[in-house]
């Protein structure tokens, strides 16, 4: 993996730097979107922890989902003369003029979690994001491996229609199972990323598939829908995790609880640690002028029941999910 190598390299150089120059404290301003989801809250918590680990003074401005607040925050970070700015953009467009100001002040900007409109490519140092197509692919490949050649009918719980994450996770999963003719998606419907909707749609899938007997696996675009689907399977007298395999994405704490209870099989992590690689890239850039690649892809780690889910649950439960 090309990206992983780069990631590792930048992490290493960052680590070397932070050991060598502990006293040189770096100040980073982080314009966060808000706290609209558990994942977002966890991202904020993890960013603070990662900053502390590296002796970085992190200033966080919560934009309450408003772009104007993010622009204001970036302007006051520039006025404060911070060493770097992290931006999790609420929308893709409209950043040119404020990012130009940052560039003029020679303050590197790192995008976290989301990209901005292409016209601004030269306006930021790098973007640390996950690849949602890749996430879906990891989930699909796990299922192909687990089905081990046996025929397997999959039902899919999609995210919100039109959301790019949902489109990408669907595409990635299809790519992942493309080589295996035994694994087939038989039903696919939106569960809107919510528990309630996930449960409701799963109930209708179970009814449509002869009480669930013909379903071999469930793939959900996020863990929340899967938690709902697990509930539906249990209520229908099925054993999720044994009768029906489950694989979903995000790695929120609750899915680990289900995995520990044997009711879920696998989840692909959307890591809340976007800031860690960003700090490393900025530190390497500041120390040695190392220019990172325009895109740093975060790892989409697969967790299964073999990964001590209870321990992962314990480590994640206080992050704010």
């Amino acid at each position: 993996m090309n990206f992983k190598a780069v990631l590792l390299a930048s992490a290493l150089s960052g680590a070397l730097f932070s050991v060598g120059a502990n006293a040189a404290e770096l100040t980073v301003g982080f314009s966060q979107i808000g706290s609209e989801s558990g994942w977002r809250a966890a991202e904020t918590t993890v960013s603070k922890a990662e900053a502390k680990k590296r002796n970085v003074n992190l200033k966080i401005a919560d934009a309450q989902q408003k772009q104007e607040n993010q622009i204001k925050a970036i302007r006051s970070f520039i006025a404060q003369g911070v060493d770097a700015i992290f931006l999790a953009p609420v929308v893709a467009t409209g950043w040119d003029s404020v990012l130009k100001e940052a560039k003029e002040a020679s303050i590197p900007v790192v995008l976290l979690d989301r990209d901005i409109d292409p016209s601004g490519k030269e306006l930021y140092l790098t973007a640390v994001t996950s690849d949602s197509v890749h996430e879906g692919k990891v989930a699909g490949e796990w299922l192909v491996k687990t089905a081990a050649g046996k025929p397997c009918n999959v039902v899919e719980l999609q995210g919100t229609v039109g959301a790019s994450v949902a489109t990408n996770r669907k595409k990635g999963f299809e790519d992942g199972i493309a080589g295996a003719s035994n694994v087939k998606i038989v039903r696919s419907q939106t569960g809107d990323f919510t528990r309630a909707k996930g449960k409701e749609v799963m109930e209708s899938f179970i009814k449509a598939e002869g009480g669930g007997k013909t379903i071999c696996a469930v793939y959900a675009h996020n863990d929340d829908m899967m938690v709902g689907a697990i509930q539906a399977m249990k209520e229908a007298g099925l054993k999720p995790g044994t009768d029906i395999l489950t694989v979903s994405i995000d790695a929120v704490p609750d899915i680990f609880k289900a995995m520990a209870a044997g009711e879920a099989n696998a989840t692909v992590e959307l890591t809340p640690n976007m800031a860690g690689p960003a700090f490393d890239a900025v530190m390497a850039f500041k120390a040695k002028g190392t220019v990172p690649p325009k895109w740093i892809q975060t790892e989409s780690k697969l967790y299964t029941q073999a990964d001590n889910p209870m321990a992962v649950y314990e480590s994640k439960k206080d992050l704010g999910y």
């Binding site: 301003g29 934009a63 104007e68 204001k72 925050a73 006051s76 929308v91 893709a92 016209s119």
Partner: protein, 341 residues
């Protein structure tokens, strides 16, 4: 504007505005003493640029509130304006300046419509402009739910253009437009017949009509002005972000009302100053800047601080009213009475 009034009376009339200004200056000094980089032209210029759209609608809101009304539609009108401009310029190929003229006319007509409904059907402004708020926000979602970038050349020229003072301090086009609107608003409110009518309407509609003022025309004009300024604010907002988005400026109407009240304008009408609203906007901006300089406080403290300030200023107003009431004066002449006692 105070030339015809004796000095102590003028001082009394200006007391709330003076209080607001003092709060702003004190706040700024406190921030400057905590953060070394705070007391810079850059921060002052940022305050003007970042709050330009709010400042412009706050001027319109001042007229509306002094006349005894309220306009809840302005935030949605800003949102609608940004989406309209983005579509007109990017999809329909309208030249930006023509699009500006079109949207200002549309907004003015929208405001005139609301003013007419309020006046001729004798409906509460709260309900009529609430309907306007839903209408404008709904329309902008109908046009587009996506954020649309505006790539027109004029936009990059305008958003890059700025008068520079020293290290990074720039007076941008949005800031210039806001300052111009504040200045013209002061002239219009304090030095013209229309402005005098606005004050009179806030005192008493019936009395104003009896005085021979065309109440119908004035009311329609006040809401036309407010919506047209909201349209201008939308233009500034679209310059600020170089894009149009139907979710932009949600809740700005409430920020504007807060700025107007913090600026010393009576919500019941009849009393207030454009300059006060301008300082009210700056105070809100100052609180936000403080919070991002601090970097550890939740940004929701900005709302809490604004709430507390609002409360303090309303209490202050009631107090001056009370003192005026005891000296046998009519409430809306409160501060003049306070000055004489």
């Amino acid at each position: 504007m105070t030339s015809s009034i004796s000095a102590p009376a003028a001082l009394g009339r200006l007391l709330p505005v003076l209080a607001t200004t003092l709060v702003f200056i004190a706040g700024f000094l406190v921030c400057a003493s905590i953060y070394p980089n705070f007391a810079s032209m850059r921060v002052v210029m940022n305050l003007l640029t970042d709050n330009a759209f709010l400042g412009i609608v706050a001027v319109g809101m001042t007229f509306v509130i002094i006349s005894g009304g309220i306009d809840l539609s302005v935030g949605s009108v800003i949102g609608f304006t940004t989406v309209f401009l983005a579509l007109a310029i990017e999809r329909w190929g309208v030249p930006p300046l023509v699009a500006f003229a079109m949207i200002l006319l549309i907004c003015a007509a929208f405001g005139a419509g609301m003013g007419a409904v309020i006046q001729y059907f004798d409906l509460p402004p709260f309900i009529v402009t609430l309907a306007g708020m839903f209408l404008a926000r709904g329309l902008s979602f109908l046009l587009s739910t996506q954020s649309i970038p505006i790539n027109a050349e004029l936009y990059s020229h305008l958003s890059d253009y700025a008068l520079r003072f020293g290290a990074g301090a720039r007076l941008t086009v949005p800031a210039m437009i806001m300052l111009a609107v504040v200045a013209s608003g002061m002239v219009l409110l304090h030095l013209t017949r229309f402005g005098a009518n606005v004050y009179a309407l806030g005192g008493s509609r019936t009395a104003t009509a009896l005085m021979g003022v065309n109440v119908n025309r004035s009311t329609v004009l006040i809401y036309t002005l407010s919506s047209a300024l909201a349209g201008l604010s939308g233009i500034v907002f679209s310059l600020y972000t170089s894009s149009g988005y139907s979710l932009s400026a949600v809740g700005v109407e409430l920020d504007a009302i807060a700025a107007v009240v913090i600026g010393g304008t009576l919500l019941s009408g009849g009393y207030g100053f454009v300059f006060g609203s301008f300082v009210g906007v700056l105070i809100q901006g100052l609180i936000q800047t403080y919070i991002s300089f601090d970097g550890t406080l939740s940004s929701w403290w900005a709302k809490i601080a604004t709430g507390l300030l609002l409360f303090a200023f309303i209490a202050f107003q009631q107090l001056t009213l009370h003192i005026a009431g005891r000296s046998g004066r009519r409430p809306r002449l409160a501060t003049a009475g306070a000055a004489q006692s």
